[in-house]
Amino acid sequence: MGGSVLPLGFLQVGRDAVVRELGNGRNLTQRLLEMGIVRGTRVRIIKNDMGGPLIISIGDGRLAIGRGMALKILVEEESKA
């Protein structure tokens, strides 16, 4: 891999990434955890308008994530296939 680490909210539609950091804040981490996002989770950007919430996929599930939250989650982008 070896891609750069950047906030989830910066990724373009269709890109895959692996979660590296969940930002801080106990509540934030806990909420993400319940929804299946931990370090090492692979996510794909389904929708990102660069404003408003994002849609990401985790396996076959889809999550809506607010922009603020998406900027706190740091991911490592996978190189283009």
């Binding site: 106990r26 981490t29 806990q30 090492g40 389904i46 404003g51 985790i58 889809r62 607010g66 939250m69």
Partner: protein, 684 residues
């Protein structure tokens, strides 16, 4: 008879259903228990508790539907309720419904159930959707690895539920369920062992909890559990040991303890999933059908117009399909009133009693019952929106707008539920984790136009705007929504300063709702209105009738009756809004008890059944004052049931009073504004 007795005598088996939201839990609950359901509340909280019964192999099984949760921490009331039920009520079996299309996330709850030592049977649900995705689950291996029974099910088609019940019955025999062990790694395990020793030496704790589970919970610092432990004595050593352990581990591993434990849990789940899941499709689809729909439906520019179109269609459907029913039911009540009157007269019934039955009950309750088809149709439409998965998209679309206004996107779901009935809508605010966001949502939800207001609109719109009924009523619903958002913004700015909390929400894939489940949901929600007509509306209508006959000897429903006094006393307030008649005023006063009563009261006052009612209203109102009256009915003071719910949810008479007061002021202001502005531009 004797067999039934034998069943009665045997100890009832209790099966609890646990699972994530959107896992199909409700559908399975419905197909297990059919119509044998009861809805109540969990003790001490307002979380809805559903119970049902089923008979299998000659045994009666009580099925308890736990709230849908992603986890069993204590971050929301729902989670605490589910957790406490499993911990303290100890159901014989917990059926864990797992959405197999989201296996990993769903298994997070499963690992918690297993650690708690619950006697778990897994329903691997939505196996049809999994098959469609060309994914296989090795059920035997899954069951073997976790050491618990598992059954594949398709809740929507009632497949696998029989087998599920049989497995659950068999599992009741497992006195000592195998407790699954997630290995948290050497360092953590060492600390866990020490904590568990402390726990084992405390009899109070071992009597109530599975020791390993408690050790894990204490170590990760679950706030709900730590709070719950406060009532036990002799825990100082445990807590000191915990603090030391956390410090040691975080120093050693460079991570906070919560993430450490979470990582291991998901590691366990990931490993399990890898073992049992095979994808036959070599190249997975990058974007599913749902994604493609979402691209249009949640589009930045199209999203809100599509949402408005969906709403508009919903109301048009409610009217266009419901309209003929209104005519039929009206005709029925006219006929029934006439026949009943004639029959009572010939039977020599005293005139007063006859008036109670014909004018009061048939005129009052009948005028409300006329709108039952519309109410059911609206609930039908709302059920389709909910079951298809569109509701979550609406929240998504609105998040951007709501966020710029300082509100939480998830507030939008309670608001939409409010179109059906404000009571569950106020309760639905519970999904908001942040107290401020929740309180704001509770305060603005009563502005959403519920189905109980619908009879008022249909009556008035039918009398004055028959050509544009749908449009007029749509405008009222929209007005409620816009005002709710604006008031939310004001409250946020002046009462509850501070940032909004995180927005994260599951978007379930779009599904075509089955006719059966849509009908069940429609019936569940709609039937309460029939009950309401038989109870509170009936009672209030009788009260109104009595007050319109007092003092003794007064002309029925005249201004000199007590009803007339009350109305005349209040009426001047509404003069600037164009409906300063005592009849309008008294209808609004009693409408606080239940909004349908506005129509019911007018029905009693103007007597003469439904056709006469429309004619009487056409005399007493103008189109402009009728619209102002509808605006008032929409906004002013929430009904008694909603007031009660607000009190329970906020646990504060202050906020409850505030909700009633500001809606009254807002309703009056808007009604006056509509009327005066309308006159200014020459509509009056």
């Amino acid at each position: 008879m004797e067999a039934a007795q034998a069943i009665e005598n045997e100890k009832q088996i209790v099966v609890a259903l646990a699972g994530n939201p959107n896992s199909g839990k409700t559908t399975i609950f419905n197909s297990l228990t059919g119509s044998h359901q009861q809805v109540g509340n969990w003790p001490g909280v307002t979380v809805e508790k559903k119970e049902g019964q089923l008979v299998s192999e000659g045994k009666v099984i009580r099925v308890v539907d736990l709230p849908g949760t992603y986890s069993l921490g204590a971050y929301s009331e729902d989670e605490a309720v589910a957790r406490d039920y499993i911990l303290f009520e100890k159901p014989d079996v917990v059926i864990n419904i797992v959405d197999t299309t989201n296996l990993e996330r769903n298994l997070y709850l499963t690992t918690q159930l297993l650690e708690m030592g619950a006697n778990v049977v897994i329903a691997l649900n939505m196996s049809d959707e999994l098959k469609a995705k060309q994914i296989d689950i090795n059920v035997a291996k899954f069951s073997e690895l976790l050491g618990i029974p598992a059954v594949q099910t398709v809740g929507t088609r009632n497949q696998g539920t029989k087998e599920l019940v049989l497995q659950a019955l068999q599992a009741t025999g497992n006195k000592k369920p195998r407790v699954v062990q997630i290995n948290y790694g050497k360092e953590v395990e060492t600390e866990l062992a020490a904590l568990e020793q402390d726990i084992l030496s405390n009899r109070q704790l071992t009597e109530n909890f599975a020791s390993r589970w408690l050790a894990v919970k204490v170590l990760e610092g679950d706030q709900g559990i730590l709070k719950g432990l406060a009532k036990y004595s002799g825990l100082d050593r445990l807590l000191v040991r915990r603090a030391e352990a956390v410090k040691r581990l975080e120093g050693l591993l460079g991570e906070d303890i919560e993430s450490l434990i979470a990582d291991k849990r998901y590691g366990f789940i990931g490993g399990l999933a890898k073992e049992v899941v095979t994808r036959r499709q070599t190249t997975e689809e990058r974007f599913s059908m749902s994604d493609k729909i979402d691209r249009i439906v949640t589009n930045r520019y199209l999203g809100i117009p599509i949402f408005l179109l969906a709403m508009w269609t919903m109301f048009q459907f409610t009217f266009k399909v419901g309209d003929p029913f209104i005519g039929w039911i009206e005709t029925f009540f006219e006929w029934f009133g006439g026949v009943a009157g004639a029959w009572l007269e010939s039977a020599g019934m005293p005139e007063l009693l006859m008036s109670l039955i014909v004018d009061g009950i048939i005129g009052g309750v009948g005028s409300v019952l006329v709108f039952i088809p519309n109410i059911f149709l609206l609930f039908f439409a709302i059920s389709i929106l909910e079951d298809s998965g569109y509701m979550a998209r609406a929240a998504f679309i609105m998040d951007r707008l709501m966020h710029t206004l300082g509100l939480h996107g998830k507030s939008f779901i309670p608001l939409l539920i409010g179109f059906g009935c404000n009571v569950p809508a106020v309760m639905a605010s519970r999904t908001l984790e942040n107290k401020r966001d929740r309180l704001i949502t509770i305060l603005i939800t009563p502005l959403m136009s519920c189905t109980a207001r619908l009879p008022v609109y249909i009556l008035f719109a039918g009398a004055f705007f028959s050509a544009n009924q749908g449009l007029i009523i749509f405008s009222l619903y929209l007005l409620g929504l816009v005002l709710a958002i604006l008031m939310g913004m004001l409250f946020k700015r002046f009462l509850f300063k501070g940032g909004t909390s995180h927005f994260v929400m599951e978007l379930p894939p779009y599904r075509v709702p089955t006719l059966k489940s849509t009908f069940i949901h429609m019936w569940e929600k709609g039937s309460s209105f029939i009950r309401k007509a038989g109870t509170i509306i009936f009672a209030v209508v009788v009260l109104v009738w009595v007050l319109s006959n007092l003092p003794v000897g007064v002309e029925y429903a005249s201004q000199e009756s007590i009803l007339g006094w009350i109305g005349s006393f209040v009426a001047p307030i509404f003069k600037p809004a164009g409906f300063g008649t005592w009849e309008a005023a008294v209808a609004l006063v009693f409408g606080i008890l239940a909004k349908e009563v506005v129509v019911g009261t007018l029905g009693v006052i103007y007597g003469a059944g439904e056709a006469g009612l429309t004619a009487a209203i056409a005399q007493a109102w103008t189109p402009l004052s009728a619209y102002a009256f509808m605006v008032m009915t929409l906004l002013y003071i929430p009904c008694a049931a909603v007031i009660g719910t607000i009190k329970r949810e906020t646990n504060s008479w202050g906020w409850t009073g505030f909700a009633a007061a500001y809606t009254l002021v807002l309703g009056w202001l808007m009604a006056v504004l509509v009327y005066q502005f309308g006159r200014l531009v020459g509509l009056g």
